[in-house]
Amino acid sequence: MSIYLPIAELPVNILLIFGLGIAVGFISGMFGVGGGFLMTPMLILVGIPPSVAVASVPSHMAASSLTGTISYWRKQLVDSGLGLVLLSGGLLGTAAGVWVFSLLRRAGQLDLIINLSYIVLLSVVGTLMITESIRALWRSIQGQQALLRRPGTHSWFHGLPLKFRFRQSRIYVSAIPVTAIGFGVGFLGALMGIGGGFLLIPALIYLMRVPTAVSVGTSLFLTLFTMLAATILHAVENRSVDIVLAFTLMIGGVIGAQSGARAGQAIRAEQLRFLLGLLVFAVAARVGLDLLTKPIELFSVISSEAAR
């Protein structure tokens, strides 16, 4: 069953796109990540022009993270205060990321930088999450208490001013490191064309000591707002948001996100972190393999309008 995409200017199999939406939505709801780091490469693989894929995926992430946010909100697993402080840094970081993005594009090495940062970031984050969660799982097998939240231990940033109490997260920290994390996630997200949930969740868990479930809920909340902003920015700047593609992905996404959120809440936090670590690492390995093996076709052709 084919349908013509008015902005991408090509016909696609609508069921395939719908299925992609469900699959990525499931992962998105389960781990609280936007899923952009999976969806964008898959759409490009299906034949959607990269500019259209990058611009249309954010609206899908907005819809499925809104469904996820509602689901976590009912269980009081969203820290809106923490989310808003993160958002203030995130929006600044996004603007900075877009600026560096255009600088690198002019230098002509954007693809390489994006691929390399994918590999470095994803494999580091993936490895950290896998080893940490295995350690946590090992401790729980031996019957010990998980040591993620050590009461009384303080990092250097606990001494910073502007302290806030974030109730749902059960933390009392300065707004400065929280804004900095938001900035970093927004910056890398805009640079790499991803939502940044897979960076934010580990940062909240390991740096801020926020409980895993609240990290996921708050990440979904943040993703909702950054992705709505990204959709509008892309429509105004690049004119490459395809509403038919976006709508199809959204419908699949919210259905997948709903069952994903349930699956995520049903399994234990350490297992969830282990699985997310594995997924992140697998994507890094895939990108790395692409760079290391000789491609069948050495040449690629793009229309320079599309490259703009």
Binding site: S2, Y4, R74, T231, M250, V254, V301
Partner: protein
């Protein structure tokens, strides 16, 4: 004296005139296309264009018709292509060298009754841009074969460049038909259909027709909104995401 001068000027003007005027062919070409507007709606997956043409020739006797060769070239709107080559640097396969190809057709189909090389020398092919490589790229760029050939190869694989050397069918010695495939990925805009008729390796008749590939209905509305009402369009998509997300949250709550 004055009379002679005027006569001389008149004679020169007459001679010049006969040079400037187009070469009068004995043949006349009458073509008919199945459509001049390819309309793209939501169920568009590509279509084909049927061309009928008749060669009218008053001079050649009916019982001994000439043998004609036909080349039909269809060009989509011009674009600039960038061909990039991957090289292995520090163990990684990355884009390295690139070439720009300005003013290249975004869609190109060349159909003929037999390979142009069989009825004319390279000079003839170059002059009338017969065949995929002559029609796609200026000869100066063709010199760099590696990148130029890669462009043709990749575009052929995408179905946007098409070459068939037995796609023109003669129904009678002077009436022929050809079918031009327009893929679903065909770019929108004005297209040019160029028909060349050769007899014994010499151009006998030529005609150019224009067609248009346009979006219609909902597709045209969406494309126009995205282009002209950017902010409203962006807000619209964001609102849609909001509605879909909220509705899904409400629907699944009941379950």
């Amino acid at each position: 004296m004055i009379f002679r001068k005027t006569a001389a000027v008149f004679a020169i003007a007459l001679m010049l005139g006969s040079f400037i005027a187009p070469i009068a062919h004995a043949e006349r070409l009458v073509t008919s296309l199945s459509t001049h507007r390819v309309l793209i709606s939501s169920n568009f997956t590509g279509t084909s264009l049927v061309l009928f043409a008749s060669i009218e020739d008053a001079d050649t006797p009916r019982d001994k018709p000439k043998k004609y060769d036909i080349v039909i070239t269809v060009r989509g709107p011009a674009t600039t292509f960038v061909t990039r080559k991957k090289e292995r640097i520090l163990g990684l396969w990355v884009n390295y060298e690139s070439r720009r190809y300005p003013d290249t057709p975004s869609y190109l189909a060349v159909l003929s009754n037999r390979p142009p090389a069989e009825f004319g020398p390279v000079e003839l092919q170059a002059k009338y841009k017969l065949g995929l490589s002559f029609a796609a790229l200026p000869p100066s760029i063709l010199a760099d074969e590696e990148f130029g050939n890669a462009l043709l190869r990749v575009k052929k694989a995408e179905g946007l460049f098409y070459e068939e050397t037995n796609a023109v069918t003669f129904l009678t010695p002077t009436l022929f038909r050809a079918t031009v495939p327009i893929p679903g990925t065909a770019p929108t805009g004005p297209y040019e259909v160029d028909v060349h008729v050769f007899a014994n390796g010499v151009l006998a008749a030529q005609q150019t027709t224009a067609i248009e590939v346009v979006k219609t209905g909902f597709e045209a509305f969406v494309a126009q909104s995205a282009r002209e009402a950017r902010l409203d369009y962006g807000l619209g998509v964001a609102f849609l995401a909001f509605v879909v997300g909220t509705l899904a949250g409400l629907v699944f709550r009941r379950n």
